[in-house]
Amino acid sequence: MLRLLTACCIMLSCWGAPALADPAKDLGSESAKEGDSSEGVFNKLLAPGPLMFAHRSLEHGACLKCHDAGKGVPDAKCLTCHSDIQQSIRKRKSFHAMTKQACIGCHSDHKGRDLNSTVVSSKTFDHSKTGFILHGAHAKIKCVKCHTEKRGATMSRSSDTRFFGKTQTCNGCHRKDDIHAFPPQWAAKECSACHSDATWKGAEFDHKKATGYALIGDHAKIKCATCHLPKGKASAKYKFPELPKQQCLTCHVDFHKDHLQGKFQGGNCLQCHSQGQETWKITHFDHQITGFSLLGKHQTTACVDCHKPPKGAKTDLKHANFTGLKSDCASCHKDFHGFRGETSPKLGVLAQCKTCHTEAGWKADLHFNHNTSTNYPIDGKHIGVKCFGCHVPLVKGQKAPDTARKYEFPELAGKTCETCHASPHLKESAEVFRKNKCSTCHTTQGWKSVNLNGSGFNHSTQTRFPLTGDHNKISCASCHLKNGKSVYKFANADKQFCVSCHVTVHSNQFEPKLVAASCATCHDTVAFANLRYNHNESRFKITGAHEKLATDCVKCHKPSASMLPIKPPKPAGKFIFEHPQSGFCVDCHKNIHKEQFSPASASDNCLQCHNVKSFKDLSGFDHDKTRFKLVEAHADIKTNCAKCHVKTHQMLETTPPRPAAKFRFDAPGVDGSAGGFCLSCHKNVHIGQFDEQFAKKPCLSCHNQKTFGQRSPFDHSQTKFQIVGAHAKFKNNCGECHVKTNKLLATSPPKPANQFLFAFESRGYCDACHAKEHVKQFHPPLAGQVCTTCHNQNNFAKGLTFNHHKLARFDVKNKHVEVKCVECHTPTTATYKQSPHHPKGKFIFDGLLTKDCALCHKDPHAGRFGPKCSTCHTDAGWGATAGFHKDFILTGVHRLLDCNQCHTDNRQLSGTGDDCKLCHQKDDVHLGSQPDCKSCHIQQFWSAPKFQHAMTDFPLRGAHRLLECGECHAHGVYQGKSAECVSCHLEDSLLVSFPNHKQAGFSQCETCHNQFQFRGKK
């Protein structure tokens, strides 16, 4: 019962309250403004006090939202609204989940609007019950340091701290403190993984364990951010996937770049550097790891001396280039020796420095002894010679440049001294000496120390000069000692050295060839006077009749006036003869044929005809060598020279004198060439028969030596008339053109001469054979042209080519080009003699220059425009005219008119186009007073003149528009007419009696009248 009453009361207080409440209030609305604290009526009546501000809306009939009738305030009721707490309880998180107390145990109500039911005492509150134990620094700080959230959205005490809902994660509070900028997967980790709330700094983090990368040396000292946040949070990097590969270069700049060998690149800087050192700089570097151990002087050499920086860079280790060097010496050291791969049988490859040198010093500890290390011991003067004095080859007997060194001397085995020393012995003698070694005579003590003793020297066999005759008897010094000096080199080997010792006395006596020859050519070493000359070696061989003089030299070599410089002096015989071209005949024998032969044939070489066996025997004469070869018919008289070479009156200087035969034959017009001597024997019967060109030609041009009558094939192209076209059929029938004339040739018997001279050369000779067909047919300039101007030899009648433009007086162009020749050149009654069925065309047009077109074209103007059609028309067509109607523009109506409308009875109107009145005098309504018709009228429409009356003082209006001009301008006066009405209408006014205008003095007509209706006032 009580419950029922309580429930009713509650319900009433809750439901009834709205009726008593302010009607303007929105019941149950949570949007009520803060401060609105009017208590519900029933709450006032039944509740112990007003609800707190946040619950105030429940006062108006929502009691059961919190209360369970008779059961107090169950937690479930509270959690219905406070769902977030309910969730936390379900998740078993937060303080509310931990505590076992009922809601109202901590949170009461009905104690007024200002009740704060969530007061938490920072001193008594057991924070561990929230699930977050306050340790370390957390235990020391104030609550609000963490619980910064305000109620905010809640309706009451929005500025109060909200303790519920705070995250227990470090990030929840310390996110802004996170300096790590961990990537997402790391960001999820709690700070406590490394940090403790006792102290933030000094996080326990094993880098090696956590990352696999041990921090050693300076790495352990630097700040984390140095590697992981090089440029702030935005550059956070905790993963280094390239680390295994790039190693140190993952973070460190590749300082050396390409200046390291490959095996030292790749980031494994620890090969040289270490993390354990205090600085990156390398204080000690074990060069051995490079594969090149530093020994000897290398140890004291500065690194940059070998590992030179690039050009332009600083010379320090920083910029040193550690690449490019090999372990072989040449990688750094220039090969002074210039070895090029030579191999020493004893030393091996010479280019290897170590063969001789060590690292102790370049010159120190040199492992080389020429005498033992090479196949060539050095002694004597060789010892003082510098190495390159020998180890530089000879080029053309001269030492080559030092850069071309030589260390292999394969020829040394054979040549010995000549390997380096050029043999002074001349080639001729060198061959002899080649069999001997230099050392046979010479030593290394000096070239000049020659030892011939016991050397087995044989002058005859080992020199170029065998000792024979008297030479065997004389001492060496007789030849080899000149002016106190030993001479072993002698010139004139080509002359067997005679003149090297003996002076020649024959300098001017012999021909140069013999002078240049050896004395031994004639003399021997036994007795100089013994002469042994082979005359057949000279230019004159002693044969035939001369043989009997072979031993009597003076018969030919007669003593001359010169004396030989010998003791005793003797006259020098003549050995130089001036006529080698004649075979030296005339040097002894007189030439009696001087005037007998032509200059071309004249020669002092008697052997051309004679022979040394018998002077009179001329059978050896070869006539073919003359300018006239005896062939064909002439060959028959070959042996009968006198047939041609008849006796002359000239006598030869023989004993006794004999008449000279004729041997001089001049070829007229030809300079002695073969075949030009016909006229010397044969008479020219063709005088006057040929033209100059052929008259000069030799007979053989047409005739031959076989038979004179039969002519050789003649090349007609040589003439001025080419046989082509139709003429070709007469090619082998010369008589068709070269007809017989009345003239007789001086032959035996006389024969009629054929015609070879033709007139009309300038006309191509056509007229010579062909009749003059076009006489009087062409006008003189064309008649004077050659036939080939139009005709050709291939087709005389049809193959006509004619340049009308150049050759005729009428230039064919434009429309005329389309016209056939016969249309203008109409056939006449005359015919051609050669073609009687072909009529001759008309080619002469009288009056061509005066009659112009009318010569062919009928003049439709009947000549009234003159004879020159070309004045207006062109040959482009009759319709087109040039400057038609030059002076008078036909426009307007005139363009429509027929010519006869103006040019009646073919009247010429030239020059009158400007004077309209000369045609329109009958139309002149102005009676001649306005001579300039065109100043007002236009050709398009006569009635609409350009003259605008409106622009005068009197625009024509009304009735005035209907008047004739003369009705106002009756007197021919068109200017100055008064615009006043009375000037025309005065008489009209005088005729009016009522009212009487004159008496009334009316003078301004327009006052009462208008131009439409003059009669009667308006």
Partner: protein, 484 residues
């Protein structure tokens, strides 16, 4: 005033039948014929500075057409037939509607020529029958007969008789109310060996006998004797009506003599013989080309058309008077296609010795763009009897075988003696095109304005020429001497 009298229906039918017969028959007869038809419209809009009867508009509109047909070598005698028929429909020139204060349209057909002829080129004689002009006698129309013969190779003489048709604005209309006329003429024509030399002379005596009892105003009034000085107009009118109508006889002469291309003389004169002898008008000119670059013309003019009637109204600024004028022009060829032309004139009035003078110079180029263009520019001064003016003008023309385009611009400053100064400006543009070898069209615009009025006008024509005769060739380029 006379209103237009259209042709009667029977007359029209007769004419059209005749026309159709001839046109259709001509080809069938294989005769030589030619002709043209032309039609056009003219429209002008005028706005005056001074309103008239409440309106400042004064427009014009006219449509016109013409037919010309000429057939030659008809029949065995090779006669010739000519028809010239024209018509103009003017929207504002018919009659006056005084009550409506407007002009009403009118149609003005005219039979300009209808004649059968036997031309001289078919023989040694000539005759014509019908309505035809007589150029040798300066007779615009003669309804009658004309006969002539050749008196030698160069001379023709003829005589005519008939009726002188009524003229209205230079037109001939009907047969009614026409004067009788007759005359005789002679023509001398010597055509030299080429077109550069020729002589033409014609002289004629023409007699007209008026048939009307009343002379319509504006027509020539013959007087037996001049009015005495001081006679009033009324007295002259009265005197006129009492005078019997006199015959009018005048002597007409026309000479064109061109002995060479470089020299030319022209002469034109009308000498009234009856009722009294006096020189009505005379025009004489002499042209000579002195060098290849220089030519000149001297001309003289004498007119005295109003010898018989002179108004004595003192209000007339310029009473009727004889007028004598001398002209000189020179042309100097500066270059091929470039010419400088100068024209001057001076004239004197007989009655009051007032004089007028003018001088103009013009530069003309005709060979621009290979003959496609011609242009001119000129300036001048003119002193007339009651004003002195400055004139400037320029223009250009474009020529092809099919199209001609002309443009001119004129600007003036008129200083009137009454103190008024006007600045007329006239702009003309004309286009003529050969739509085909036979079809010709033209379009013309004009704009004229000064302080008194503004006028814009347009004219469009279309003409077609037909016939069996060879068509006149078309011009291909600008004229060489520019004699526009």
């Amino acid at each position: 005033m006379h209103s237009a009298r259209p042709l009667s229906m029977p007359t029209r039918r007769c004419l059209w039948t005749l026309f159709a017969t001839v046109v259709h028959a001509a080809p069938a007869a294989a005769i030589d014929y030619a002709g043209h038809v032309n039609a056009g419209v003219f429209s002008a809009h005028e706005k005056d500075s001074t309103p008239f009867t409440g309106s400042d508009q004064n427009d014009s509109l006219a449509a016109f057409g013409s037919l010309y047909f000429d057939a030659a070598k008809i029949g065995p005698y090779k006669n010739q037939f000519t028809l010239d028929l024209r018509d103009k429909y003017d929207y504002f020139a018919g009659a006056l509607d005084a009550n409506g204060l407007r002009l009403i349209p009118s149609n003005e057909p005219q039979l300009r020529q209808l004649a059968v002829k036997h031309p001289y080129d078919q023989g040694s004689y000539y005759w014509a029958l019908g309505r035809f002009p007589i150029a040798d006698a300066a007779v615009l129309g003669n309804d009658g007969v004309d006969v002539g013969i050749k008196a030698g190779a160069k001379i023709k003489i003829g005589a005519f008789a008939g009726l002188f048709p009524e003229q209205r604005h230079g037109q001939t209309l009907q047969l009614a109310k026409e004067d009788h006329q007759a005359g005789a003429y002679a023509q001398y024509q010597d055509q030299g060996p080429d077109w550069q030399r020729s002589t033409y002379a014609s002289t004629a005596l023409v007699l007209r006998q008026p048939v009307s009892a009343v002379q319509p105003p504006g027509t020539y009034i013959e007087r037996a004797q001049p009015l005495p000085d001081g006679a009033t107009t009324q007295q002259s009118e009265t005197a006129d009506s009492a005078l019997p109508l006199k015959n009018y006889l005048f002597w007409y002469s026309n000479i064109v003599h061109q002995p060479s291309e470089q020299t030319r003389f022209t002469y034109l004169s009308h000498v009234d013989v009856e009722p009294s002898v006096h020189l009505r008008n005379l025009w004489a000119s002499a042209y000579h080309q002195w060098t290849a670059r220089f030519s000149g013309t001297l001309a003289a003019l004498r007119i005295d058309a109003t010898e018989y009637k002179r108004q004595r109204d003192l209000r007339d600024i310029l009473p009727a008077s004889a007028y004598t004028e001398g002209r000189a022009d020179a042309r100097f060829k500066l270059d091929k296609g470039l010419m400088l032309e100068g024209v001057s004139s001076i004239g004197v009035r007989g009655s009051d010795q007032k004089n007028a003078a003018s001088v103009n110079a013009k530069l003309v180029a005709t060979n621009l763009q290979k003959g496609r263009f011609a242009a001119f520019a000129g300036a001048g001064y003119r002193k007339s009897f009651n004003s002195h003016d400055l004139i400037a003008r320029f223009g250009a023309s474009y020529f092809t075988a099919k199209v001609d385009v002309d443009f001119t611009q004129l600007a003036m400053i008129e200083h009137r003696d009454n103190g008024e100064t006007l600045h007329p400006l006239i702009f003309d543009l004309s286009l003529t095109t050969m739509l085909s070898t036979r079809l010709v069209g033209s379009l013309t615009f004009e704009l004229a304005k000064d302080e008194k009025a503004l006028l814009t006008s347009a004219l469009m024509t279309l003409g077609y020429r037909f016939g069996s005769r060879q068509l006149t060739p078309t011009r291909e380029r600008a004229p060489r001497l520019e004699r526009l």
